[in-house]
Symmetry: C2
Subunit: 187 residues, 2 copies
DNA sequence: TCTAATATATACAGATCAGTTCAATTAGGA
DNA sequence: TCCTAATTGAACTGATCTGTATATATTAGA
């Protein structure tokens, strides 16, 4: 029960950073919106950047758990790969949808050497490793290449859902994925 | 010769915003790095947001001119569509590459109603219209769908080139585009 | 009830934020 | 040369930034 305040802070900070942006959301705003005093925040985290890193760790865990579980429900490896885009479609439909937290983090901390940037990159790497394994299970001729292609469609759909005018970016990405699977994943 | 200071400011502000981010780069930093006084900046632009809008207008013009010219050199419509990814590859290889200015703008101004966000979205729309027309010239069965798919690959490659570990995102995207063209663009 | 950890409010430091004011300076065109 | 517009430096406003200091209040276990 003791670390609950810390967890509560991370959880609420995640929502606020996602909604407002990292630079735009100051520590005073976090204190006001979370009801957690600034003193407590800086007792749990030495700096704002460390809080952001903790937020990104939570987001990575939540997002991968959510996505991979949705994919598992689909059954065959091939169906799992396509199910990713169905999950994305549900995500995009949320009214609070505002793109990917890690793309946003990389946008605000553009230097690759920055720890926040590096942690965002690590999330993408973990996604790749998982997709590569599923592509391999699906009997893909080039699992790594197929995984990279599907992930590019995913990132493109995420950006387009936030920035574009298109009706259903997830459906477009899925349709493209079907074609790629036909080519690289003989069934 | 009179509006040169204004143009110079926009041009230099573009580089600084692209490198540092919009929130991270303050007006004082702009004044220090451009050598243009803050007084002059606020005489040309009522606010920082208006300067950002001017920067995005310039970036839109520059980027589309550059990309479309590279594509035109390729010859046939089908080759033009693929040439987009070759151009992306050259862009990604620049040491100063730090993702897409419009994705970054949308990340820092996440509300769709924000004028900066809207202007970034407009850039993506103009890209779509151009690609749709080329896809149509190429005899695509569904030009709009093909254009949306190729653009998703483009955005995905841009994000991956900034945030990923992959060796050559542009080549991956091009390989996927080849497959999509075979399917949607009978030659 | 005592103890020790944890959280609180409040005020503050020092820097930086966007934006303004104003007098002095520079430059171009007639 | 003269006139006008553009630009400048520098100080300034008031708000906000990250982070700290201090003293008080809350909480939970022994």
């Amino acid at each position: 029960m003791r670390p609950s305040k810390r967890d509560e802070l991370i959880r609420k900070a995640l929502e606020i950073f996602y909604r407002e942006g990292f630079h735009a959301a100051g520590m005073d705003l976090l204190a006001a919106e979370t009801g957690i005093s600034k003193t407590t925040m800086f007792k749990h985290f030495r700096s704002k950047d460390e809080l952001i890193l903790a937020v990104l760790r939570l987001r990575d865990e939540n997002f991968r758990n959510w996505l991979f579980r949705r994919m598992e429900q689909a059954g065959s490896p091939r169906a799992q790969l396509l199910a990713m885009f169905d999950a994305l479609g549900e995500w995009f439909a949320e009214v609070s949808y505002r793109s990917c937290m890690f793309i946003k983090a990389a946008s605000e901390y553009p230097e690759p050497g920055n720890p926040i940037h590096a942690q965002a990159a690590e999330h993408k790497r973990l996604l790749f490793l998982h997709l590569e394994q599923i592509a391999s299970s699906a009997g893909a001729t080039e699992p790594a290449l197929l995984a990279r292609m599907l992930l590019q469609l995913k990132e493109g759909a995420i950006v387009t859902a936030h920035l574009g005018h298109e009706a259903d970016p997830a459906a477009d990405a899925k349709a493209a994925a079907v074609v790629l699977l036909e080519r690289f994943c003989p069934s």
